[in-house]
Symmetry: C2
Subunit: 212 residues, 2 copies
């Protein structure tokens, strides 16, 4: 599958190589490739393309930008390019402008995933992976016996299945699907507790296991 990962922060730097290890053809999208390449910390050996080109021919586009830049990034990729494409959103609408702990830029009656859906109305948006640290996203075995829970929300069943298969390839076994993208509201509102837990536990290598 050709996968375009948007974002060159920690999440993009982890997910891009993660998808490549699964055998996919991965390209990374950024605002200005030259600026990203000149950064001291960019050492990912994957093609780097500007947002306006990166979505061309992609079977899956993954939003791994920071929450505050996500809608602009999706708009830069282009709603026409994204029409019919599966768009996996793993970002969180965290606002660190007032320091720590962060607040949420959108919540409760709306979500970042829904904002992205509105920015690319014909994209097939699925929310997933945002509930864990990026190292855990691609390697659920980092936490306990590897059987913790992942969520996937989206109204397009086929698109959700594309994402679920990728989750399974990463090693996720307990995947709970929601048939409405609006379930992303709850998935994003998990972050404030996640952030407190990270502070309390002193590690990001944790996750919830849904016991029922």
């Amino acid at each position: 599958m050709r996968i375009a990962v948007l974002g060159t922060g920690m999440v993009g730097k982890t997910l891009g190589p993660g998808f490549a290890r699964l055998g996919h053809d991965v390209v990374i999208g950024t605002r200005e490739p030259a600026a990203t390449r000149s950064r001291g910390d960019w050492e990912v050996d994957l093609p780097l393309l500007p947002f306006r080109e990166v979505g061309e021919g992609a079977d899956l586009v993954v939003n791994a930008t920071s929450g505050q830049g996500s809608v602009a990034a999706v708009q830069a990729v282009g709603a026409e390019v994204l029409a019919g494409t599966v768009l996996l959103d793993v970002a969180n609408p965290l606002d660190f402008s007032a320091g720590f702990p962060p607040t949420l830029t959108v919540k409760d009656t709306d979500s970042l995933a829904e904002q992205i859906q509105r920015a690319a109305p014909q994209a097939r948006v699925v929310k997933s992976l945002n509930t864990v640290n990026c190292a855990v996203m691609v390697d659920p075995g980092r936490v306990g016996d590897g059987s913790t829970t992942m969520f996937a929300a989206g109204g397009d069943t086929e698109a959700r299945q594309v994402v679920v298969r990728l989750l399974e390839d990463f090693g996720w076994r307990d995947i709970i699907e929601f048939e409405e993208l609006s379930a992303a509201r709850g998935m994003e509102m998990w972050l404030p507790l996640w952030v407190r837990l990270m502070g309390r536990l002193g590690t990001a290598d944790f996750n919830l296991k849904l016991v029922r």
Copy 2:
């Protein structure tokens, strides 16, 4: 311990007898005892007192009213009566006025627990138990092998310990404490995901286990 439980809905009807089974001296607070007694569904065999009397002599006051009535209930008990008293808040600020799923009346930069703290500035407020259904609150063994996770947030260490001991008496073993009441924001913002999960799983007998 003398425990005053505020609220005569499902949560109060479950927690009151739950504390009584642990050997505590329990009284239930309501706006109008006569109105509560005349309800067809009130069959709890515990003293019923008006809010303005129920807090007198209580070692612990438990807010088990609906989120939207919680601040008024605490005000009716009286900030003077509550001064120095441990106040366990188990409520959630759910707003069902626009139907299902509910939204939150307060979130992100504030919480119901903090609203309650402001209504009773000298009470020793602890947030806990709000993350599970009331049947699970008093019987964590209903879920899996009984080892799921409970949170307790509050700035008063001694008050938090009073609550933690009660949680342990109910059978909770994995209790994560937060030293700031503002951690209640994240605990309350867990509810939107909880509500979706209840719909998806078709049961309220579930909980998260924090794996680390």
